[in-house]
Amino acid sequence: MKVRLLDIAHARSGDKGDTANVGVIALKPEWYSVLERYLTLDRVTHHFHGVITGPIERYELPNLRALNFLLHGALDGGGTLSLKTDAQGKVFSTAMLRLVLDVPDDEAKAAGLPGVTVWPSYQRSQRE
């Protein structure tokens, strides 16, 4: 089943130099295990391909039902050097939430995940 990250998590992002951090928090405690299993480093690296220039790090915080991602080379030099509108990475959080997870049907149903049958039109890999 296709599951929009937006429907199962909330997020906040910030900056440290040229690195943006994105904390992704499960909307329901029981959905954290879905994030842990399917919001992998590979999946997020693929998502931000062409958007950032550096590698990504991933950390788990089961106590907060959250994952933290460090996106290096995300801010056009960062701080005052950056020419970007989002020089401080404030809305990388919502860029992350555009991600769509593939969760096996039985697991998605058991966790009560809100699935989508139509691939969201804004997902870049399925552009019209």
Partner: protein, 467 residues
């Protein structure tokens, strides 16, 4: 749990079971109403005001170069004026890193305010200095402290002649000392944001300097409230449509306990919301490796934090673990790094995006023909892809698109010439263009940030209490 140790030399204090530290400012430029609302909305013991961001120190350094009596966060003077009755008559104590690169000048300004309001006798200002390494920079480099950039590894000598400011991030100890000497307004320079909250908890509960778990708890309390309303409903994505009365948002308050646990709450009859999701969002804000949140006092482990809703707009935080800090302090260095300018034009439907794209190509060709060279040119299409890039997908003929072009480089004249090339496009570029009322873009000098580490032992802080 071990019993808190007693710090010798400090005056006797009330043995409190609860200490309330209110956040009244999350950055320089935050809501001017917040400090007064925090001291008037209910009982608090401390008001914590955080003014310093990474680049703020360099702005303040430039101001100090122009006028030796400047170089501190001037908003602080108005903030103190707005809370003066609470400080002078009700015993609320204020801790702020408003001193910037000139804490003594900041203290002098606050003394004047106290004098003007006839409360000089009731105000004792504690001034923390010693974080400013600029006067010692050459001596430090010569004695084997390369101050290498933490991100690139380059030695500071590469940009030494362009350095504007250099400040070590200092911890809670000098603030605790100032409180022990009876200060009721403590002014620091580049204290860490979190130390401003941890210090009063450490002082009141007499936590030992090696009581790692409790010090870490104080640091995390500080992290939660250091961005003001960002943990109490501001910038909160979770259920944002239903967060009540943001116009009247309540700023957060830490209700600390001696065992290191604490509750985040806000005054009654204020807007916003304090919930496990709102606090969680703030906890992950600007997070690095969650196992190691390094401060001068302690390393806090964010994977040990437990949150529970403990009533309406009350979140209890407990279980926090800490461990000894490193032997280094982080140093925030600012240096001149060239010039930049950003300009915008707005193109309207139909075909707003292709028009904006054509304007971008035309502009770049003209810059090229003029022989202007830049380190970097960045074009964004606001309304289409400025913030999410290719992740935003296709734009479906939007009603308007803002073309936003920025350049940066070492050559000020080239950046200035760029700012002259934008306006002509209104008449000699693609059609349906507007939004140039703001005039030519401003050329800004870039003051960039150089993070480094230094041996703790070479940084000595000094505490002076003015009466």
């Amino acid at each position: 749990m071990t019993a808190p140790s007693t710090t010798s030399g400090a005056p006797p204090r009330i043995n409190k079971s609860i200490v309330r530290v209110a956040s009244g400012q999350g950055f320089w430029g935050d809501w001017l109403e917040a400090p007064r609302r925090q001291v008037d909305g209910g009982d608090v013991d401390y008001l914590m005001l955080d003014y310093l961001a990474e680049v703020t120190m360099s702005i303040l350094q430039k101001q100090k170069e122009r006028d030796p009596n400047m170089g501190y966060a001037r908003d602080f003077v108005g903030a103190i004026e707005s809370v003066l009755p609470a400080v002078a008559k009700r015993g609320v104590r204020v801790i702020a890193n408003a001193g910037g690169v000139n804490p003594p000048a900041c203290a002098a300004a606050i003394r004047q305010v106290a004098h003007k309001h006839g409360v000089s006798d009731a105000i004792r200002i504690g001034v923390v200095t010693g974080d400013d390494l600029l006067p010692r920079l050459d001596e430090l480099i010569a004695s084997g402290h390369p101050l290498a950039n933490m991100e690139t590894g380059d030695a500071l000598s590469a940009v030494r002649d362009r350095v504007l400011s250099a400040n070590a991030y200092i911890g809670s100890t000098p603030i605790v000392e100032a409180l022990g000497k009876g200060a009721n307004i403590v002014i620091t320079g580049r204290s860490t944001d979190t130390a401003l909250t941890m210090a009063p908890l450490r002082y009141e509960f007499q936590w030992a300097a090696d009581d790692w778990d409790r010090l870490a708890a104080g640091i995390i309390a500080g992290h939660i409230i250091e961005c003001g309303a960002q943990c109490s409903g501001g910038n909160c994505l979770y259920d944002w449509q239903n967060i009540p009365d943001l116009a009247n948002v309540g700023y957060p308050i830490v209700e600390g306990s001696p065992d290191g646990s604490f509750v985040i709450y806000k005054h009654p009859n204020t807007g916003g919301r304090i919930s496990v999701p709102s606090v969680s969002e703030q906890l992950v804000y600007e997070m690095g490796d969650p196992h190691s949140y390094i401060t001068p006092d302690v390393i806090a482990d964010f994977t040990s934090i437990h949150l529970e809703q403990a009533g309406e707009n009350r979140v209890r935080v407990f279980g926090i673990k800490g461990r000894p800090p490193t032997d280094s302090l982080k140093v925030s260095i600012a240096y001149r790094a060239g010039f930049k300018a950003v300009g915008t034009l707005v193109y309207s439907w139909p075909d707003a995006l292709p028009k904006a794209e054509l304007a971008d190509r035309v502009l770049r060709e003209r810059l090229d023909r003029l022989g202007l060279r830049f380190e970097h040119i960045l074009t964004e299409f606001v309304g289409v892809s400025a913030t999410h890039g290719p992740l935003a997908g296709e734009a479906h003929d939007p009603p308007e698109v803002q073309l936003r072009i920025g350049v940066r480089g070492p050559d000020k004249a080239a950046v200035e010439r760029f700012t002259r090339e934008l306006a002509p496009l209104v008449l000699n570029g693609p059609p349906s263009v507007t939004g140039f009322a703001g005039g030519r873009p401003k050329v800004e000098e870039i003051v960039a940030y150089w993070p480094a580490l230094i041996d703790k032992r070479v940084v000595q802080t000094t505490v002076e209490v003015l009466t």
